[in-house]
């Protein structure tokens, strides 16, 4: 069997970096044999890339292929230290144990174990880096759960959900990326609407149209007589208050919510799945409840 070598470039978290990740995903799509990831050109790798690559590797494996991360090609000591620290390297064949530092652990969840995920969000993510009251820490973790709820309930992912985060000390930003390789929001929205509307008309909806629809309060693809569709709405409100940034990339559409407003657009490169990437500012003044007086 031939081996496909995929170069991992230097990856930050701009929309263009996400497109590069989706392009990598498309390179292995349909091959699903032996894939070797090469780090020769990688000088920097953010948590969004870590979560995405971990998920992509598990997806390939689930389809019968094999994956090797070629650690001998990794020249950047800072990338190596980061991947060892957050546990990614240890998960993929490198002999290193994770340790606590500025990284936030890489995680793979096959099942939505609520208590494990909430512990991670509460104690390894927000609670570790932002100096807020327990009450606020708990409130923020609850908002973040909405991402997992969507990923497990709506994506129909067969390989689970992948998470990584990072705290950037100098900018004081806290990041969380959650990735699934499920159907994707536009595919799910189109399948849902096709039950009620002529399929040819639904097919004309763009990726941006579908992602925007999913963000509107009360819109849900769930059936069964229970009002839903608040997860993205609550998350959006929270990020706005925090002056942070929420990015959702799914199939051929994406949304960016930040202090500039809400932008919904079509992606130049489509991929099957959803990435939710949140950047929060670690300024405790931005998180206060109304009844918590400033000191």
């Amino acid at each position: 069997m031939t081996q496909k070598i995929i170069q991992i470039p230097t990856l930050n978290d701009t929309p263009e970096d996400f497109q590069q990740l989706f392009e990598m995903s498309n390179q292995v799509n349909g091959l699903f044999e032996d894939v070797r990831f090469d780090f020769s050109n990688c000088k920097f790798l953010r948590s969004n890339a870590v979560a995405f690559l971990g998920g992509l590797a598990r997806l390939i494996e689930s389809l019968g292929g094999s994956v090797i991360f070629d650690w001998d090609t990794l020249r950047s000591n800072s990338v190596r230290a980061n991947l060892c620290q957050n546990g990614f390297a240890g998960n993929f064949g490198y002999n290193a144990k994770a340790w606590s530092g500025h990284s936030i652990p890489y995680r793979e969840e096959m099942e939505p174990d609520m208590n494990e995920i909430m512990d991670y969000l509460t104690f390894s993510w927000i609670g570790k880096w932002v100096n807020v009251t327990d009450r606020l820490r708990d409130a923020i973790s609850g908002r973040m759960w909405e991402i997992y709820s969507n990923a497990f309930e709506h994506s129909d992912t067969e390989v689970g959900v992948f998470t990584c985060g990072q705290h950037f000390r100098h900018r004081n930003d806290l990041i969380l990326t959650v990735v699934d390789f499920g159907r994707g929001i536009p595919a799910k929205v189109k399948a849902f609407l096709s039950q009620f509307v002529d399929e040819a008309r639904v097919a004309k909806l763009s990726g941006a149209d579908c992602v925007k629809w999913a963000f509107e309060r009360g819109n849900t693809t769930s059936m069964g007589g229970v009002a839903r569709g608040l997860g993205l709405d609550l998350l959006k409100d929270f990020v706005r208050i925090n002056q942070g940034k929420l990015e959702v990339y799914s199939n051929d559409g994406y949304a960016i919510i930040d202090k500039e407003g809400e932008r919904f657009d079509n992606s130049p490169i489509s991929f099957q799945g959803t990435v939710v990437h949140i950047t929060l500012r670690c300024d405790e003044k931005l998180y206060r409840f109304y009844d918590e007086a400033e000191e």
């Binding site: 939505p112 609520m114 208590n115 909430m118 509460t122 327990d134 009450r135 606020l136 708990d138 409130a139 973790s141 609850g142 908002r143 759960w145 909405e146 709820s149 309930e153 609407l193 009620f196 509307v197 008309r201 639904v202 004309k204 909806l205 763009s206 149209d209 629809w213 309060r217 009360g218 007589g225 229970v226 009002a227 839903r228 569709g229 608040l230 997860g231 709405d233 609550l234 409840f289 109304y290 009844d291």
Partner: protein, 116 residues
């Protein structure tokens, strides 16, 4: 009747399965006109799936006025209250029979306008 949510589901009101558990305990009692107090003392984390199922779906066959009269919520912190308010507002506006044809037509019309 007073129910301790912490005793029934623990300190996290997050998932829909726990919400459904509460719904099944209170729905019949509320339908028969009984007043119920949900005590959230000791519960610290909240998310919408729990409240959609515990409280939101009560509005399928109980009016909002009736629900507000019969269901008393105690010791719910600001974060939980904010989610409950949003869930009740959403459930009160919820119609299983939305006009999806019109929704799709409107989106496509907007799409055409933007591409002009």
């Amino acid at each position: 009747m007073k129910l301790s949510i912490k005793e029934l589901v623990g300190p996290r009101c997050i998932i829909k399965e726990d919400g459904q558990k509460i719904y099944e305990v209170i729905h019949g009692l509320l339908k028969s006109g009984e007043t119920i107090t949900l005590d959230f003392n000791g519960v610290s984390q909240f998310a919408s799936p729990f409240f959609n199922f515990a409280i939101g779906q009560l509005l399928n066959d109980i009016s909002e006025d009736e629900l507000r009269r019969l269901l008393i919520i105690e010791n719910l912190n600001e974060s939980g209250s904010m989610v409950v308010d949003r869930v009740i507002e959403n459930a009160a506006q919820y119609h299983g029979d939305k006009d999806y044809q019109k929704i799709v037509d409107d989106i496509l019309e907007q799409q055409a306008r933007e591409s002009d």
